[in-house]
């Protein structure tokens, strides 16, 4: 990849109990974060091709690592980026939107729904809530969720933190109705 990666962080959460009730099987979520140099930090550039191109490799690499860490079938996904203070929100958009999703879907074995995303510009140690949605039907209510992630020493001013998050389940003990996993039509990515 043309961009320098300083650090890669993988996080796995397993929930065994919620509100005193056992969660069976345990609900698992995994995120993989890369800290990359921002080639456009500090000066306006019209063409963001380097980041757009890097998005493809990052999508494959981060989803691949998150999938290995998750160790099970993927049900929902999300992505996010935190741009260091010398960069623009648009740099996060260049990484996440044009090329990131296709390789991510390929790695996890498909995904019809839009990959929900979040982005912001922030200082070192900032947390971001990566939105999560069912990979085949965005309206599945039990899988509306978010996973908070952060890296203590990133992003520096000229860096970007890029994240892919995957789960093997929805929220623990879901009971607010809406479209259920069993009712997914699987045609339009929505229902």
């Amino acid at each position: 990849m043309s961009l320098r990666i300083r650090k890669i962080v993988t996080i796995v959460e397993e929930v065994f109990e919620e509100a005193g009730r056992e969660v069976l099987p345990p609900a698992r979520r995994a995120a993989c974060l890369a800290v990359i140099g921002n080639p456009y930090a500090g000066a306006y550039q019209d063409d963001l091709a380097v980041l757009i191109e890097a998005g493809s490799e990052l999508g494959a690499m981060l989803a691949g690592r998150a999938l290995s860490a998750l160790g099970g079938a993927v049900e929902s996904y999300g992505k996010a980026a935190i741009v260091g203070e010398e960069g623009e929100l648009e740099h996060a958009a260049a990484l996440l939107h044009p090329t990131f999703g296709a390789p991510m879907r390929k790695v996890i074995g498909g995904g019809k729904a839009l990959i929900p995303s979040a982005k912001k510009r922030a200082g070192v140690g900032a947390a971001i809530d990566v939105p999560l949605g069912h990979k085949d039907a965005a309206f599945v209510r039990s899988h509306f969720d978010a996973m908070e992630v952060r890296i203590a020493d990133a992003p520096r001013a000229d860096e970007i933190v890029v994240v892919a998050a995957l789960t093997d389940s929805g929220r623990p003990l879901p009971r607010v109705g809406g479209l259920a996993v069993g009712d997914i039509l699987g045609v339009d990515g929505l229902r």
Partner: protein, 194 residues
């Protein structure tokens, strides 16, 4: 003593590819595992708590094994370690101290008899609090290149009646360590210090 009730477990692995300067031949890996358990002594003063250390041993062993696996599974590759606890606000700092013996025991058991004391940090704090878990070389506390710490935390833990227990392992020195002091290749290996 009460059973150990595990609500959540979170594993973190960091791969540091460089810190300014040239990338090292082998990236540094740092891993942490945090278990969120119910604090069986929350909300009251309990004079006798020491028996819970024995109950925590199986949890500690599980955590140490899982953490080692997350770092590649080779005990010989682990060079640094540390441990920590965050006690939810219905508990006491002393409850966190219950982690010293089982946490240290678990890592020594899994890593094959490390000599140095396991450095530790603990505090009473709210959900989402961060803890800087200190790290030193596992056979000689004075090895300066391995002095480090890893910040960890779990957004929704510890709740008031919970404790977050953590173990940390690393595969080497700080990237580009160059602040002198005792080096890993100079370890005498007798007293756990040098």
């Amino acid at each position: 003593m009460p059973e150990v009730r595990l609500r959540k477990r979170v594993t973190f692995v960091e791969e540091v590819l460089h810190e300014f300067g040239p990338p090292p031949l082998v990236p540094l890996r740092r891993g942490a595992i945090a278990a969120v358990i119910a604090n069986p002594f929350g909300g009251r003063y309990e004079p006798e708590i020491a028996g819970f250390m024995e109950d925590l041993k199986p949890l500690g062993l599980d955590m140490a094994r899982l953490l080692l696996a997350a770092l590649g599974g080779d005990a010989g590759a682990i060079e640094g370690y540390g441990k920590g606890a965050i006690v939810g606000t219905a508990g006491e700092l002393e409850h966190g101290a219950l982690w010293h013996a089982p946490g240290g025991y678990a890592m020594r058991e899994v890593l094959g008899g490390a000599k140095a004391i396991v450095p530790s940090a603990k505090k009473v704090a709210g959900a989402g609090a961060r803890l800087d878990v200190p790290i030193t070389h596992l056979n000689a506390s004075y090895v300066r290149s391995h002095f480090d710490s890893m910040e960890i935390g779990v957004t929704d833990a510890p709740r008031a009646g919970e404790m977050l227990l953590a173990l940390v392992m690393t595969t080497g020195a700080r990237v580009h360590a160059r602040a002198g002091g005792l080096r890993a290749d100079e370890i005498v290996g007798q007293d756990g210090l040098r």
